[in-house]
Symmetry: C2
Subunit: 288 residues, 2 copies
């Protein structure tokens, strides 16, 4: 938390592709997260819209530029499975704003969390169709501002209430009608590690992998499923194998660590960064 904004960042070559997704240090403001990344030798950050709004867009743009940090993704757009027309329009407008913000801070990709079933609605195929339609409608604006749409397939644990796109294959089915640089996928190990078809789908994805995010699947699963993710190495995911598949698919971008976990959030941010950097060097970087 100490590096002044004007000094050159002290980057570590083994961490060259490591990006701190802000959600991992949820208690930090954007300013604190930027300083934390610099102090820890990181050169990339995944920014969240909530903290971006707190900081103010213009100020954030200046901070990020001064710090010399890449912005790996902006999190997050999406939540466009509503069925009533007014809510559909509101979600579209919100995603347009998110794309504009992503362009302003230089994020290559806007992460799209599709959203769940509307209250009382049990028609999962229809919600999936609405997600695909909403993405189709966003493509022209995304193209205009030069930000890619990254569809994030989500673990089936969230199919009802958060993300109706449940597999990488399904996300690619939605993405493939569009240019590879315009619509891709956000691949998060927590969401996809269990998929028996994962190797084939990662190979199919190729350059459509617009973001690779890592965290672990831990058991017993914490009581709040939204905060159920673990630090790499604390759970059951084989990062070497999955990381190798992602590498072989041609992915050379940043690798974000995104951990939603109450214990991680209760730990001082610089300690979290020290731990995740060590785990990244041991479990992720050698296979990337």
């Amino acid at each position: 938390m100490s590096a002044p904004a004007a000094s050159p960042p002290v980057t570590d070559p083994t961490l060259a592709r490591l990006s701190l997704n802000q959600r991992t240090t949820a208690s930090w403001t954007l300013r604190e997260a930027i300083d934390g990344c610099r102090a820890a030798g990181l050169s990339s950050i995944g920014v969240w819209r909530e903290q971006l709004a707190e900081a103010g867009l213009d100020q954030a743009v200046g901070w990020l530029a001064d710090a010399g940090l890449r912005v790996s993704t902006l999190c997050r757009g999406g939540f466009f499975t509503a069925s009533d027309p007014a809510a559909i329009e509101a979600a579209h407008a919100e995603n347009v704003r998110a794309l504009d913000e992503a362009a302003a801070i230089g994020a290559a990709t806007l992460c799209l969390v599709p959203g769940g079933l509307p209250s009382g609605d049990r028609d999962l195929p229809a919600a999936r169709r609405r997600a695909a339609e909403a993405i189709e409608r966003l493509v022209p604006h995304a193209r205009r501002v030069g930000v890619s749409l990254g569809i994030e397939p989500m673990n089936p644990i969230y199919a009802a209430d958060r993300g109706v796109v449940s597999t990488l294959g399904q996300a690619l089915d939605i993405a493939e009608p569009y240019a590879v640089e315009e619509v891709g996928v956000v691949l998060d190990t927590f969401h996809v590690w269990w998929d028996p078809d994962l190797e084939a789908q990662i190979a199919r994805a190729g350059r459509r992998i617009h973001s690779y995010q890592v965290c672990d699947w831990i058991t017993p699963l914490p009581a709040d499923t939204l905060l159920a993710r673990g630090m790499m190495g604390d759970g059951h995911i084989d990062f070497a194998t999955i990381g190798g598949w992602v590498r072989d698919a041609g992915y050379t971008g940043d690798i974000e660590v995104e951990i939603f976990n109450a214990d991680v959030w209760a730990t001082p941010g610089d300690e979290v960064l020290a731990t995740l950097s060590a785990r990244y060097r041991e479990l992720i970087q050698p296979y990337a």
Copy 2:
């Protein structure tokens, strides 16, 4: 809890295919569950090995015959993903015993819960291969005693610690080398409802559906993921659509209600049976 064992069961034609999986009334002994089914007008039961052992096999055989109940399944075999040879042998022997018990009580199918990753082991594909090998080895004994093996694909939420077979398609890949009446699948809505490929895989399954089990996916998910299942109608699953697919696949067997849920377990069994019978009439039977 009142019908004496010797009286003819009072069955209800709208409940003709409804089976009480004993796990739904976890506090009941087998004797109580048999009496509960008769009092509620059910003619089928899914038996658990723990309660069967308590009752004693010979006594249970007599009770079930006297009550005139069909045994839709015996739950459960499986848990054969261990990697060390002694544990593999022990699991095989235990599954042979389970098949013998299933034959003795007249259960058509032994439900197989594959098991999770061994402690500290992150090789999911290898665990899946061991599950397939263990099933291959069980087939001759299953054939000999006339009980089918029902592979239960499990929601990915359990991939690490309970069931490495995560999709219906994957279960069918394991089953298809064998005769359709010898190795099939146990289709539980809780485990498969989210699958984008579900309609196609149910059609592919056809007569390999050896058991159809129903319960709901509720949110927020209860803190203990093993007790996270809801009563049909309390959650997000579209039973009409999935039930129609199962019907169209040719399934005419019993439909088990299997609910692991602390609140359900704290409710008197006869109240649980009254509720599930009403929900079955409303949400399941019309589409079966």
